[in-house]
Symmetry: D3
Subunit: 133 residues, 6 copies
């Protein structure tokens, strides 16, 4: 038995990729990533929720706020890394997991079993990353 | 190997929540929930289906029909319960599982391994519940 | 030649309808309305925009904020009125037009020719209202 | 009486805006624009179509192909211009209209009355531009 | 000032096209058409609606019910006609207009100014037809 | 920890079903299937991707190209088989798995753990099939 709650946000970033397989995407270009953050637990808390959806939205907005309207090629944290859609899913999921660990999503969030982040890069392509918390 | 078939319906309900964390949602308000019911099995039956999709749609419509156009705060079955999105996923999934158990979805449905119900409450938030059958 | 810019928000309200034609919707129920507000002009301003999209989003959020998480049957402004989807489109469009008139959307907004508001009540039904400004 | 046919494609670009009203979007960032190109006519041709949809898709792909995977700040054609969503709608619509004029969309396209281009920049914002041909 | 109400349904048909421009679509193939029927009026009736949405859905279902699960190449009414997406929009819109004319959509429908029908044939292509009533 | 990348395409086919439970779908009809192909791996390769998304799209297009614009009732490979939505998911997933096995998706694809294919047959029904690779 698994309950999941998902909230959506988005980021608009510039970046480029290193590696022949990326073809024209080796040039500086950009993307809107519609970001879906899912929180999973096997039981609901006493309020009947997986996680405080208000807090979840706030925390997701903090994380997307630190990424959006930037050229990721210039961000020191991504030096030498291809910021592919799947990699950015992991980055956001890991940051959400840190917030769970430090109590930022409330006490109920301690019961969470996993987090999944999906980034939609267009109407024909998207990626996701799921990890335990 | 897992096959899944999903059908979509919706409900339009009023309700309110108890608990400070719900903020303005403690007031009587409402929601359209777009309801996705997924049926899973590891093999197809001799007709090549997971479940009779016509029956599945009918049964889902019976269940949503008993919830829609109501104020859930006035329904005895939800007395003392916060009818959160995730809770309503569970309610609908459990009712579908009962119909599977009593043969209402046809003999093939006995092969189903699990049911998942997702309720979309807006373009930026949704929840789901998955259980075995 | 017409340029249009649209921003999306949502409200979650309870209400009921008066009139036999509404059938079960005469009972207190609710809806999520995904709200699309469109602004039209025949030319762009010197910044290359129809309207300041940041201001447009803020103003739309003020208007939806005054409607959401409420039982519209209890709001004096809707006394004796069926708050149908099409009527609520008009209410929101008229409030947007007032904000344009009082300068709240910036000086460029004076060039706007019309406003259209669409409310999606489910995956199978929506309504809209277009008016001049 | 108006017939419309629409085809969808997308571009992924980097750019920045000039002007205080753009706030953080003054920084180099990027966007996926999902591009909808609509062709309108008051009558169908003898084949029963508004325009050869195969040709329309090809021509749209040529136009998006010349824009995608680029930093628009570096393209001479956009020097000194804010490449806002609404402006890019106009650029693409004008290029489509040129192709209609030079016969690239086939003889039937001479009957087209107007073209509309919509660019979706996220799940909560989009813009469009309609012009005669 | 224009109010619009839209309801959605769908049909699943087989057909083929005559004419070289259709390429592989000259072969017998098929399509799901998601059908959006829009009703427009400049004023709401005394109940606050454009049209009785229950009746509109029923009438649309009657019309789609007479088309769906058929090979349109075998239907006498389409003999010698390419049943393109845009043509089928017109067929459905004309049938809706007939129902308005014969009172099937209720007395209020006499105030309708126009009907628009959109058929989505895939996630990247759709067509529509608008006519007066 | 699971990474997933998904690409979308579509097919437009005619077919009919054998078996009373299919009701009117026993008649020759058709469908647009919007096809989502998902590739899963527990780790990214040295380029930071699950699979070369360009290759994945190409291979999916080859597979859909061999199915689209056809009457599946006439295809020898489907003789005696109901080409239900769930069955077609399996057909496409198995063909993708073959391409992975024969190296067509690149060396990195050897790390893939599973493939899932989802076919959307309308706005209210879809199916999927997941298998190991």
């Amino acid at each position: 038995m698994t309950f999941t709650v998902t909230v959506r946000d988005h980021i608009m970033i510039a970046h480029s990729f290193t590696g022949e397989m990326f073809g024209p995407a080796q040039r500086l270009h950009g993307a809107t990533f519609v970001v879906d953050a899912s929180f999973r637990a096997s039981e609901l808390d006493s309020d009947g929720v997986v996680v405080d959806i208000g807090l979840a939205s706030e925390v997701l907005a903090e994380i997307t706020g630190a990424l959006t309207y930037r050229n990721l090629d210039d961000e020191p944290e991504f030096a030498g890394v291809n910021t592919t859609t799947e990699r950015l899913c992991q980055v956001i999921a890991d940051r959400l997991a840190e917030r769970v660990a430090d109590g930022r999503l409330g006490a109920s969030a301690a019961r969470l079993s996993s987090i999944e982040v999906t980034l939609h890069e267009s109407h024909i392509a998207w990626a996701s990353y799921e990890r335990e918390v």
